[in-house]
């Protein structure tokens, strides 16, 4: 029997296959189609201090093998999340990773403070959402110093596992990842969506009100894979890889490139069985190849 168990920070997971933030709601939405108990971990939609209504329509746009989204972080807000959504997830035997997002360092700090006593496995700091218009165009994840500030503040309150989710929209993701590692992050999640756009030619306007939206799906896999490789080369802490994963083979590519765990995002929309299938195929693969532990494959790419 293959051993799929992995450890990220203090978090022990029964397998390295997660569902990515924003693509799996708060878990319950998929419970009728997917056995949540099988998943390594569920990363929740990013939570903000106050409920967020999100962006105007349109929010989704299909592209060649990809999906542009501009949800704008619509979520129930911290209070409802703790009172209604978290208890639901806690009923399942799966890792719970709570994703948080803020517009200021202060907001991240407050979120960490409020969540520190709640029962879940890890906090994922989303400092890379391209779909929220803030005063400055820069994301926290585009500047090592800004990233560091957020992580330091969160770390002060939150002592369990902290994952930082980075944007691929940077010249050198290794640089940012290193800054996060130094600031105390336990793991790096790579990638959030790539900046993209589309045009509504009939009206001569951008499809999305914010102009920019985030591209995900199979189209970005070669790009995201390289970002994961770069990140894992730059840091010692575990990397969680994602971007266009549709099957076990895709996932294995990420693991070889240095991902200790992988997450399925848009793939859930196309086929909600993908994460569970990957877990099954992963087990089979380990067994057939007498590999023992999945962790042995992490970063095993021969270059």
């Amino acid at each position: 029997m293959g051993d799929l168990k992995i450890k990220i920070g203090d978090m022990q997971l029964k397998n390295p296959v997660m569902v990515a933030s924003g693509t799996f709601g708060y878990g319950e939405e998929y419970a009728q189609l997917v056995d949540l108990n099988k998943l390594g971990a569920i990363v929740t939609k990013s939570i903000t201090l106050k409920p967020r209504a999100g962006n105007n329509q349109p929010r989704l746009w299909e592209t060649a093998s990809g999906l542009l989204n501009s949800i704008g972080l619509q979520n129930v807000g911290l209070k409802t999340f703790i009172e209604e959504k978290l208890p639901y997830l806690q009923k399942y035997d799966t890792g719970i990773i709570v994703s948080i997002a803020g517009e200021t360092v202060d907001e991240y700090e407050k979120l960490a403070q409020a969540l520190k006593k709640e029962k879940f496995d890890a906090l994922e700091i989303n400092i890379s959402c391209p779909n929220v218009r803030t005063a400055k165009r820069m994301l926290f994840a585009q500047d090592p110093e800004l990233a560091r500030q957020v992580i330091r503040k969160v770390r002060r309150y939150y002592k369990k596992t902290v994952i930082v989710k980075l944007t691929p929209n940077v010249t050198d993701i290794g640089l940012i990842a290193k800054a996060c590692e130094k600031a105390g992050a336990d793991a790096i999640a790579v990638v959030n969506t790539f900046n993209g756009m589309a045009v509504d030619l009939k009206k001569g306007v951008p499809v999305f009100k914010n102009i920019v939206a985030g591209l995900c799906g199979p189209a970005i896999k070669p790009l995201a894979l390289y970002k994961v490789y770069e990140t894992s080369q730059a840091v010692r802490i575990p990397v969680i890889g994602m971007g266009g994963i549709m099957n076990f083979h895709d996932g294995l590519e990420y693991i070889l490139c240095g991902a200790s765990a992988i997450a399925v995002g848009a793939g859930n929309f196309i086929d909600p069985q993908i994460p569970v299938k990957i877990i099954k195929d992963m087990e089979l693969y380990l067994r057939e190849n007498h590999l023992g532990k999945i962790s042995r494959l992490v970063g095993s790419l021969k270059c």
Partner: protein, 256 residues
């Protein structure tokens, strides 16, 4: 809610660019209620990435059928599928119509007519309701399901924009005329069709103080309420999900 590999029992053109697709699925057929939809993966591979949401038009014991119009790449590809091939289907999804007894008016435009067939069948068979159906289309070739509604025992009113069949004009003008007649007062109006039609139906029913349910469309990611991609503005602020809170909404809930 199920995810099924459904065998195609039939997939045929009916008129204009409209097709009827019949899918084998006991479980979906057993669970479905009028107004719900299926989310269909048109192709394996990554070229048609997202599933296509399509309303349930009719159920039989072992099958579900839909009526779709070829408007783009996905529906175009769908129309090439042959019986015996299989499709990966998730459904039934969403919140359907609230069945009411008494007199009901069903207003449909374009492919919106399709989902009203399932509703009419249930209203008549389960609620013994008296059903008037108003079918709107651009031209006579695009009038959908007229006979099917008649056979169910509905009173059918047809409207074409170019006057080639039935009443000439918009289906909403017909509705307005109908509601203006003393005593016509139906217990409820159900509407499914393009946004401008729904807007006007909402306005009219609100004016005549008649409860109204509308079925909406939005581009979808997950189809199950997880991604917040398919939202419509709620009347009281914030957004509602078409796939989960709808596709059928009380007309007063949503900002049409």
């Amino acid at each position: 809610m199920f995810q099924d590999k459904c065998r195609i029992l039939a997939n045929e053109p009916i008129c204009g660019n409209f097709y009827r697709l019949v899918l084998e699925s006991k479980s979906i057929a057993a669970a479905a209620v009028p107004g719900q939809f299926l989310n269909i993966r048109v192709e394996q591979g990554t070229d048609f990435l997202l599933r296509r949401p399509l309303s349930i038009h009719e159920i039989k014991k072992n099958s579900v059928s839909i009526i779709y119009k070829t408007v783009g790449r996905g529906t175009g590809k769908l129309s090439l599928k042959k019986p015996k091939e299989s499709l990966d289907v998730i459904g039934p999804l969403g919140k359907g119509y609230t069945l009411s007894d008494g007199k009901a008016v069903l207003v449909g435009g374009g492919t919106g007519v399709a989902s009203l067939k399932f509703l009419a069948a249930d209203l008549i068979n389960k609620q013994q309701a008296a059903v008037v159906v108003m079918i709107g289309a651009r031209t006579r070739e695009e009038v959908l399901c007229g006979n099917e509604f008649s056979e169910l025992g509905c009173k059918v009113e047809i409207c074409t924009e170019d006057g080639t069949l039935g009443f000439k004009g918009m289906v909403t003008s017909l509705l307005k005329q109908y509601l203006s007649v003393m005593g016509a007062h139906p217990r409820v109006v159900y509407a499914c069709g393009p946004m401008p039609m729904l807007k006007e139906v909402g306005r009219l029913t609100s004016h005549f103080r008649i409860p109204c349910e509308v079925s909406l469309e939005e581009h979808m990611g997950c189809g199950v309420g997880a991604c917040m991609g398919c939202v419509v503005p709620a009347r009281n602020g914030g957004y509602l999900r078409v796939c989960k809170d709808g596709p059928v909404f009380d007309a007063r809930e949503v900002a049409l």
